[in-house]
């Protein structure tokens, strides 16, 4: 079958001519006599959408990338205040580092305030841990593209699901080692390749090894290096939708990468139970903004930009992948009625 586009073009010329479109009429201003019944109720559509979001729940897929021991699993557990990472799924800390990069996806359903989230944490053990780390980002890029492919296949299916299961990576937290010097070549290579296919949020791990001054200097240096190398991390400047977004996002971009500390242990501080790390010289409180920027990361990723992370993934990264596939194949994959058996072979 040829490309769908040309067939549709021909079909459309046979259809009825364009309906007579009248110019848009702005709503007449309410007369002075308008009483309460001058209210139509259009705004209730917001409530309807909210109800729908709560009922259907949502998927969120977060990937963590970085060398072993940078606290990735702990940080994810801290972010979601649940045991959702590899660390909590029977993974043994003493296990040998894998020889190649592995991709491990673990799913959990967590609920809060009536909202259900199907959270998938994708861990990448082995990244950056070998002697020769050349191209170690490839399995990761491959995994990300595989999820786009899965979604695309379902979308072009003739009898497609009402809600296509979304396994696409919405957010990739990249862990920078707190050397205090600069980024490593591997960091640059990874982010250069992957920032074009996924939302990357760089974080400085184990930030409790740096003093305030060291932290500030390191952040500035890292930000400069990213800029010089043309690496656009999330929130990308080019996707700011309007002035309001730009102002909000500029502030965030200027404080990134966030220097974080993670913990799943609780201690008593000033009569409150807090997540933290206990050292002889004091307790580092994870959610205390004077100690580290964990709370900023959490608010950013979960409380304000969760939906946007998904939208940028869907509207930008996925569309880019799809457009490439359309061009490569000379058209969409053939849209025959697919049975379960031939589903794989059609592409």
């Amino acid at each position: 079958a040829g490309p769908v586009e040309s067939k549709n073009e021909a079909a459309m010329s046979e259809l009825v001519p364009e309906p007579r479109q009248k110019p848009v009429v702005p709503m007449k201003p309410m007369g002075i006599n308008a009483n309460l019944l001058g209210y139509i109720g259009i705004d209730t559509i917001i409530e309807q959408m909210r109800k729908k979001t709560m009922k259907t729940g949502f998927d969120f897929n977060i990937m963590v990338v970085g060398q072993s021991g940078l606290g990735k699993s702990t940080l994810v557990n801290t972010l979601f205040k649940s045991q959702v990472s590899r660390k909590s799924s029977g993974w043994n800390r003493e296990e040998k580092i894998p020889k190649t990069v592995e991709i491990k996806a673990i799913g959990h359903v967590i609920e809060e305030g009536g909202v259900k989230m199907k959270l998938t944490v994708i861990d990448t053990p082995g990244f950056g841990d070998q002697i020769n780390n050349e191209n170690c980002w490839e399995p990761i890029e491959k995994y990300i593209n595989e999820q786009y492919e899965k979604f695309l296949k379902e979308e072009v299916n003739i009898a497609r699901k009402k809600r296509i299961p979304d396994t696409r990576v919405h957010c990739c937290l990249y862990f920078i080692s707190p050397t205090g010097h600069s980024l490593r070549p591997l960091d640059l290579e990874f982010m250069k390749h992957l920032s074009k296919v996924v939302n990357i949020i760089p974080v400085i791990a184990k930030a409790d090894t740096m003093t305030l001054e060291e932290k500030t200097e390191f952040k500035q240096r890292v930000r400069k290096e990213l800029e010089v190398n043309g690496i656009e991390f999330y929130p990308q400047k080019e996707f700011d939708e309007d002035l309001e977004d730009k102002t909000e996002n500029d502030k965030i971009r200027e404080s990134m990468p966030f220097a974080v500390v993670g913990s799943d242990k609780e201690y008593q501080v000033n009569g409150k139970r807090v997540l933290g790390r206990k050292t002889p010289w004091g307790i580092i409180e994870v959610e205390n903004l004077t100690h580290c920027e964990f709370a900023l990361l959490r608010d950013f990723v979960i409380r304000t930009h969760l939906q946007d992370l998904k939208e940028v993934t869907h509207n930008i990264h996925y569309e880019t992948y799809r457009a490439k596939r359309l061009n490569d194949n000379g058209g969409l994959p053939p849209m025959t009625v697919e049975t379960e058996e031939n589903h794989e072979s059609n592409l």
Binding site: E5, V25, K28, I40, I46
Partner: protein
């Protein structure tokens, strides 16, 4: 050293992650984007369709209306006329398109009069399918018909053959909401009888009209602002809605209201004891989201799979 980037309006009770805030994030984006909705009205001339639309949205969509005489109507075929109005209320923007179908049922032989309507609906599906399959999907416009008010004449004894044929032809393509027009020509008893008759005939002919999703009884919303207290679960019991529309303001008890002045009294459009107008409006407005969803998930997907099967390998 820390400058607080975010106003800390989120409660930080232990164990609170904060993704419960997601619906607000979705809401904020939707309000920014605004909504689109397309409503089609179908029915014979003179059943008060245009007047009703003006009453529903408190606007005058047809300012310079020209009503053709009978001789002219003989020549006319069904037209499709789309008018768009932008309504903003409490910060929410709605771009409403009303698709009118003048000429429907006017001809002496109305055999083919809904072909044009079917073609129009399919045309919108076709266009959407084309856009959805294209390279650049950033700004797809959704002109698909989300809801069709079908006007039933109050003068008959139930559905006319044309009514049945139309609804059978269209129920797989669009959400049909049957409406009994000019309800002020009927007494309350006559109305009940007609409603029952219409519902029986609908079920007899296997016609699928739009089903309101069940309101969960423990979350049964009450719509107070527009009507005396009306429970969401009761709205379905009024279908088909018996309505009256009016472009005229009449003074009743010192207030100006939309109504029709008769020697024997005033019929008030927005009085729930006079007709179901407010229920119709409440239903429409509170189900816009669902109407769009059913259009997308059911009618459009049916169209799409049929279409793709035809052009496939």
């Amino acid at each position: 050293y820390t400058h607080l980037l975010f106003s800390r309006q989120f409660s930080d009770s232990a164990g609170y992650v904060g993704f419960a805030n997601l619906p607000n994030q979705v809401h904020r984006k939707s309000v920014k984007k605004g909504f689109e909705f397309t409503l089609m009205v179908v029915g014979e001339s003179g059943l008060g369709k245009s007047t009703l639309i003006n009453s529903l949205f408190l606007t005058d969509l047809y300012p310079e209306r020209y009503i053709p005489g009978a001789a002219e109507k003989i020549e006319r075929t069904v037209q499709i006329e789309a008018s768009t109005v932008e309504i903003e209320e409490r910060g929410v923007k709605l771009r409403l398109t009303v698709v009118d179908t003048p000429g429907y049922g006017d001809a002496i032989n109305s055999q083919d009069c809904f072909k044009t309507i079917i073609q129009y609906i399919d045309n919108q599906f076709e266009r959407y399918l084309h856009d959805e399959s294209g390279l650049n999907r950033r700004h797809i416009i959704d002109n698909r018909v989300h809801c069709c008010f079908y006007f039933i004449s109050p003068f008959g004894h139930g559905l006319k053959p044309l009514d049945v044929e139309f609804m059978k032809a269209l129920h797989g393509k669009v959400n049909i909401v049957p409406v009994i027009a000019k309800a002020d020509t009927l007494t309350l008893k006559e109305r009940e009888r007609l409603k029952r008759r219409v519902l029986d005939e609908i079920s007899e002919h296997g016609i699928r009209i739009y089903q309101l999703p069940d309101a969960d009884s423990d979350e049964d919303e009450e719509f107070k602002e527009q009507t005396r207290v009306l429970k969401a679960s009761l709205i379905p019991t009024f279908i088909p809605f018996a309505v009256i529309g009016s472009n005229q303001l009449i003074e009743v008890k010192g207030k100006k209201i939309r109504g029709r002045l008769y020697p024997w009294g005033v019929v008030e459009v927005e009085n729930p004891e006079h007709n179901d107008f407010l229920k119709l409006r409440t239903m429409l407005v509170t189900h816009m989201q669902d109407l769009q969803e059913v259009t997308q998930d059911l009618h459009y997907e049916n169209f799409r799979s049929e279409r793709l099967k035809r052009t496939g390998k």
